[in-house]
Amino acid sequence: MAQQNMAQEQMRPVPVPTRTSTPFWDAAKRGKFLLQYDPAAKKYQFFPRPVSIYSGSDKLEWREASGRGVLVARTNVQVPHRGFEKLVPFVLAAVNLEEGVRVVARLIGVPYDQAKHGMKVRICWEELSDGARMFAFEPDR
């Protein structure tokens, strides 16, 4: 039974990169948060896609983001999902980055009642299994 519990705890899902997203996850390993940039539209997009949502062009560049943004919504997650059993309750935040994209991820180090709309946050990284890293947010003080 203990073994089974351990197996369940290790099941936090790990992203499986595609041709489109591989540059993102390679940079993540080095602690860099990349965004796709459409030079024709002069706009960023997130999550990574095979073409620009603005122009339909496949001429996309990868640019490192500032990682800074503002919290626009948050929820206190109290129902454990697969792989997150030991983490509940945790705060999940929707953040608008300076580059004009929205990213949703965990907000670490701030309890729910102190996670205020408009607060400044920045990207940080959580270590997953097999050297994978997942983006999260922390206060930008």
Binding site: R12, P13, V14, P15, V16, P17, T18, S21, K43, Y44, Q45, F46, F47, P48, I53, Y54, V72, A73, R74, T75, N76, V77, Q78, V79, H81, R82, F84, L87, P89, F90, L92, A94, N96, G100, V101, R102, V104, A105, R106, Y112, H117, L128, M134, F135, A136
Partner: protein, 393 residues
């Protein structure tokens, strides 16, 4: 905007079927589909050999393989000349009826059986891909519970949410479930606004009683032409008056306002095409996965102004004899959500009411219904698909 392909009102629903929602039916989605087909054949006097059009949704419990629709019609003894799977989540049922109407108007088929079933008590074989498995779930952003928790929070921040308004909607729909013998037995107990307010937080500020409960279930309708229905001597029928659908609203916006949704397009569009304004709507059967969705739709379709949803709800009687009867059979939140067939609960209730067969919860003198769907959780925009249909007695 495209013209109303249903304006001649010559496409009709001639029968509805529904099995009781159960937490554990002991049946597969295929078996539940068969139960509904048998009901529909009994009501119409047709045999399975006369069915030439068939539409379905993808059951979470059976569609780990890509040939489900073929295997299903083989099980049912149906030779299909038009076979349709619609996969726009909770919009799929109305989507199927609209696609069936188009196929009927084109003369491809004579009857469309649109049957939707799911059995979430069985192993969940559907898998998520793309951004959901790669950029969403590994962060902890897993599914609708969290997406609607964020939406509830964002609404409260922007407009101020009065939780007792959501409680009032919860009570109205629960009263419907108490009167609906096909609702989940577990939910057929009256609740109060205080019960709602005191229910535990699941994705704070969203409560347990904001949410649907998944269950096994199935439902369906038979769609045909008015001409054929008359030739068959059908006495009771429901006419399709208008339909509007949109998926991926405002796609080239990377920081969208979560309260600008497809409903501000499809709600007014469907009403305009049917020649109605919101105050002409006799009853409202909105797709309900979470209570906040009802509030957003009331605003975006135009029943009240943006941000005034709470006050509108608190001053409106939603009972079957009230100002705006809403999900009179309990909706999914109080009757149970039959997996990806869940939206059919609301559709079938609208048809049942328009045929005058809703018993103790019958809306008096009802002439029309506005029915909606919401489909697919997105990467925190709002949701993927929005549809609206007007039906008439």
């Amino acid at each position: 905007m495209a013209s109303n392909f249903l304006s001649s009102k010559d496409i009709v629903i001639i029968a509805y079927g529904e099995v009781k929602n159960e937490l554990r039916s002991g049946k597969t989605a295929t078996e539940l589909t068969a139960d509904v087909m048998v009901q529909l054949l009994a009501k119409t006097g047709l045999t399975n050999r006369e069915i030439d059009g068939f539409a379905l949704t993808l059951p979470l419990s059976e569609t780990g393989f890509a040939w489900y629709s073929n295997v299903l019609v083989d099980n049912l003894g149906i030779q299909a000349r038009w076979l349709q799977i619609t996969d726009i989540g909770g919009c799929s049922i109305l989507g199927n009826i609209a696609r069936a109407a188009a196929a009927l108007k084109c003369g491809m088929i004579e009857f469309a059986f649109c049957i939707h079933a799911d059995a979430p008590s069985r192993p969940h074989v559907a898998e998520y891909f793309n951004y959901r498995s790669e950029f969403q779930e590994p962060t902890g952003f897993q599914g609708p519970l969290i997406a609607f928790g964020l939406l509830t929070d964002a609404y409260d921040q922007k407009y101020g949410l009065k939780p007792e308004a959501l409680g009032r909607l919860a009570v109205a729909q629960r009263n419907g479930a108490v009167a609906n013998e096909n609702a989940l037995d577990k939910l057929r107990k009256p609740i109060t606004v205080d019960d709602y307010l005191n229910s535990r937080m699941v994705s704070e500020p969203m409560r347990l009683l904001d949410c649907v409960m998944r269950c096994d279930g199935a439902n369906g309708v038979v769609v045909t032409t008015l001409e054929r229905a008359r030739a068959m001597g059908v006495k009771k029928m429901v006419r399709l008056a208008s339909y509007s659908e949109i998926t991926n609203f405002d796609p080239a916006n990377s920081t969208p306002d979560a309260f600008e949704t497809g409903f501000q397009v499809v709600g007014p569009d469907a009403l305009n095409k049917a020649g109605l304004s919101p105050r002409d709507v006799d009853m409202f059967h909105p797709y309900d996965d979470f209570l906040i969705a009802l509030l957003l739709k009331l605003e975006q379709i135009g029943f009240c102004k943006r941000g005034e949803g709470s006050d509108f709800v608190l001053s409106t009687d939603f009972s079957p004899t009230g100002d705006l009867p809403i999900n009179t059979g309990g909706g999914q939140i109080s009757a149970g959500q039959a997996g990806l067939a869940g939206g059919g609960t609301n559709v079938v209730e609208a048809v049942r009411q328009l045929m005058g067969e809703a018993g103790s919860r019958q809306v008096p003198n009802v002439k029309n219904a506005l029915v909606t769907g919401i489909g697919v959780v997105t990467y925190f925009r709002n949701w993927g698909s929005s549809v609206a249909m007007v039906m008439e007695a």
